[in-house]
């Protein structure tokens, strides 16, 4: 009995962690290029509602995910235009993006409340998926779970082993040097911001098409902010994002499985856990200023004007 609970718990942990991985990895690339986009929560919500809307209208989950990514990228483009072209304050603009995304998604999503869609299904590999223990823990997830693992490997390789990754890091660490040797700093940052938007949209659509296949107002419930915290927790390294996401996925899922494990605490207190855990983790990482100083992209959050 206990083992069954444990397997169910671990399997749903992976599901809960997947949107966090996508959103955090997207934001990680944005921050490595020196831009702080606090609008992840807003982009995720818009991605969730656009994905759900497209999937219910067309009946295609793939189109749903594409729509979610595109919609969130449009918001990211708006953020890029304001902060990169018009040089607005990144913190304020990111907050505006979240507030706008919350409002927009609630507005658009009004007519989709109460509808359902057939969510993303897990893969079924002959023999492997039917194995006891190993099957549900490794071979029965949906394709996006495996995609999130691929993404972190690819991004890790991209950042540390390729010219493009070097360019992003250079732009994030010292935009003026990158500019001086002829790289287009603003262009690189635009690309990073758009990538971050696409990943947030994917994460949002995953919530409304896979985890709970429906649209609920404000359904991200702070996951966008947790994704931001995860980037700090990960000290801007992709592999640590995955570690952190699984940790948080577990904490998020705990509330639904606590009763099975025999825990008797009011559900509200269990629901607080992910938020409290975020704070605790931030304190642990930020406690030593050197950790941040050594790992945070130097130009993070600062505007760059080629002529100034």
């Amino acid at each position: 009995m206990m083992a069954e609970h444990l397997i169910a718990f671990l399997a749903s942990t992976v599901g809960a962690a997947t949107p966090l991985i996508y959103a955090s990895l997207g934001e990680l690339m944005v921050e490595r290029s020196g831009v702080l986009n606090l609008g992840v929560e807003g982009m995720m919500l818009v991605g969730a509602v656009a994905g759900f809307a497209a999937a219910t209208q067309t009946g295609s989950l793939a189109l749903g995910f594409a729509a979610g990514m595109t919609a969130a990228m449009m918001l990211a483009l708006l953020f890029g235009f304001l902060t990169l072209t018009l040089q607005t304050n990144q913190v304020a603009t990111g907050l505006a993006l979240t507030l706008f995304g919350v409002g927009l998604s609630a507005f658009v999503g009004r007519s989709f409340v109460g509808q359902v869609v057939a969510g993303v299904k897990g893969v079924s590999i002959p023999v492997l998926s039917d194995l006891p223990v190993v099957g549900p823990l490794l071979f029965r997830f949906d394709p996006l779970v495996y995609g999130s693992i691929m993404l972190f490997i690819v991004l890790g390789w991209f950042l540390s082993r390729t010219r493009g990754g070097l360019l992003i890091r250079a732009v994030g660490e010292s935009p003026s040097s990158a500019h001086a040797i002829g790289y287009h700093v603003i262009g690189v940052r635009y690309l990073a911001v758009l990538f971050g938007g696409a990943m947030s949209g994917l994460a949002g659509a995953y919530l409304s098409l896979a985890i709970t296949p429906m649209w609920v107002e404000g359904m991200t419930a702070g996951r966008g902010w947790i994704a931001l915290a995860l980037v700090v927790f990960a000290t801007w390294k992709p592999w640590r994002v995955v570690l952190g996401a699984y940790l948080f996925g577990g904490v998020t899922i705990l509330q639904f499985h606590a009763q099975g494990f025999g825990v008797r605490v009011p559900s509200e207190f269990l629901s607080m856990l992910p938020y409290v855990a975020t704070i605790v983790v931030l304190v642990l990482i930020c406690r030593d200023p050197k950790t941040i100083l050594l790992n945070q992209p130097v130009s993070l959050g600062r505007r760059f004007h080629p002529d100034a």
């Binding site: 018009l86 603009t93 505006a96 902010w225 509200e268 607080m272 975020t278 304190v283």
Partner: protein, 374 residues
């Protein structure tokens, strides 16, 4: 091609004009949005912006909804000036409601004037205590106050939800998740007959005046301002960053807590699972649109309050989702941030050869252009 050129001095004119520009752009977008939704835009505008305040009662509602926005935004503005980003006012508001409302429930039989005073103080202290957490973590452990204060919003809302579902639920309330109604002595007195505007609005105006005095006439206010405008100068002058963080967060926590108990002791009259439709977040927009200045904050709060009321009337009369309010709020802030660009930059028509710009036009023209505004 059009080119952005930094101004040598920020433009004072643009600093005042950009909120107005943002409002005009938001209205224009609203016009387009209503047209796209197949509504007659002029009629929609009338429903949104005129209908809610046609009656005395409507004006009362406008002031009533502006009250928590003014309170939260006054505190936030003080922090934003010093680059302290408290975005968890919604959570501090919720804790203010819990503490103040809890006091009222505890003294359920009391019928004296001190109860209300105690509740207001309790609400303020509750908000301060909640804001003290990010203040402590930022000044002691360098933790981002943005993320911590935001996470605490969810914690505060869950705590309220637990209380009204559990220990504080009204036993005679047919199992609804809400506390008993507060007794008359625990409610803020309304200003005149026929409206719901209460003493809280007067309190908010007094605090707006006090916050102006604090920012403009006290040394602590000056230190906060310098730290925001010129962090290096502030640290050279020996202004403690930690003290600023504490001060900014405690002040904004206190005003947000007051806003929370003001809602419970005002229009709501009891504790419910939700005590605010996002006033703490809308106050972020109010603070910016109000130019982080008390007078601007009051004006921007009235505008934002009208957006809330308009959203409600639009829902009833135009069958538009009330969430249209959120879209307008977000747009307003976007346009403001974009318009603010012209405070520090001017748009110039420049020839396509950047070298020529630097050599011939840019240098001599700047001082000449500068004489005009002076």
């Amino acid at each position: 091609m059009l080119k952005l050129e930094p101004r040598q001095e920020p433009s004072t004119l643009m600093a005042y004009a950009s909120p107005l520009l943002a409002v005009v752009l938001t209205l224009t977008s609203g016009y387009l949005l209503f047209s796209l939704l197949g509504k007659d835009p002029l009629q929609a505008f009338q429903v949104f912006f005129v209908k809610p305040i046609e009656t005395r009662y409507g004006i009362g509602e406008l002031l009533l909804k502006a009250t928590p926005l003014i309170l939260c935004a006054l505190g936030l503005a003080i922090g934003f000036r010093a680059n302290v980003w408290n975005i968890g006012a919604e959570g501090q508001l919720t804790i203010g409601a819990i503490v103040g409302g809890g006091i009222a429930l505890y003294f359920g039989e009391v019928d004296a004037g001190w109860l209300l005073v105690l509740m207001l103080l309790g609400g303020m202290l509750g908000g301060m205590a909640w804001a003290a957490i990010p203040a402590f973590l930022r000044s002691r452990f360098h933790t981002s106050e943005i993320l911590v204060s935001l996470m605490l919003v969810y914690v505060a809302q869950l705590l309220l939800s637990y209380l009204v579902h559990g220990p504080w639920r009204d036993p005679a309330g047919y199992n609804f998740p809400q506390s008993p109604m507060l007794q008359a002595a625990a409610l803020l007195p309304v200003l005149t007959e026929g409206v719901r505007t209460n003493l809280g609005f007067v309190l908010a105006l007094i605090l707006a005046a006090l916050s102006w005095v604090f920012s403009e006439k006290t040394f602590a206010g000056f230190r906060l301002k310098v730290s925001g405008l010129a962090p290096a100068a502030a640290s050279y002058a020996g202004f403690s960053e930690k003290r600023n963080v504490w001060l900014a967060l405690l002040i904004s926590g206190a005003t947000a807590g007051l806003a929370g108990i003001g809602e419970v002791a005002g229009p709501i009259g009891q504790l419910q699972p939700s005590v605010s439709p996002g006033y703490g977040f809308a106050a972020i927009i109010v603070a910016f649109v109000g130019r982080l200045h008390p007078v601007g904050v009051v004006l921007a709060s009235l505008l934002m309050s009208l957006l809330y009321l308009g959203g409600e009337t639009a829902q009833i009369q135009l069958s538009l989702p009330a969430a249209v309010t959120g879209v307008f709020q977000g747009m307003l802030l976007f346009y403001l941030l974009a318009a603010d660009l012209f405070i520090h930059f001017r748009v110039r028509w420049a020839p396509k050869h950047p070298v020529a710009v630097h050599a011939s036009t840019a240098v001599p023209e700047k001082p000449a252009a500068q004489e005009k505004p002076a």
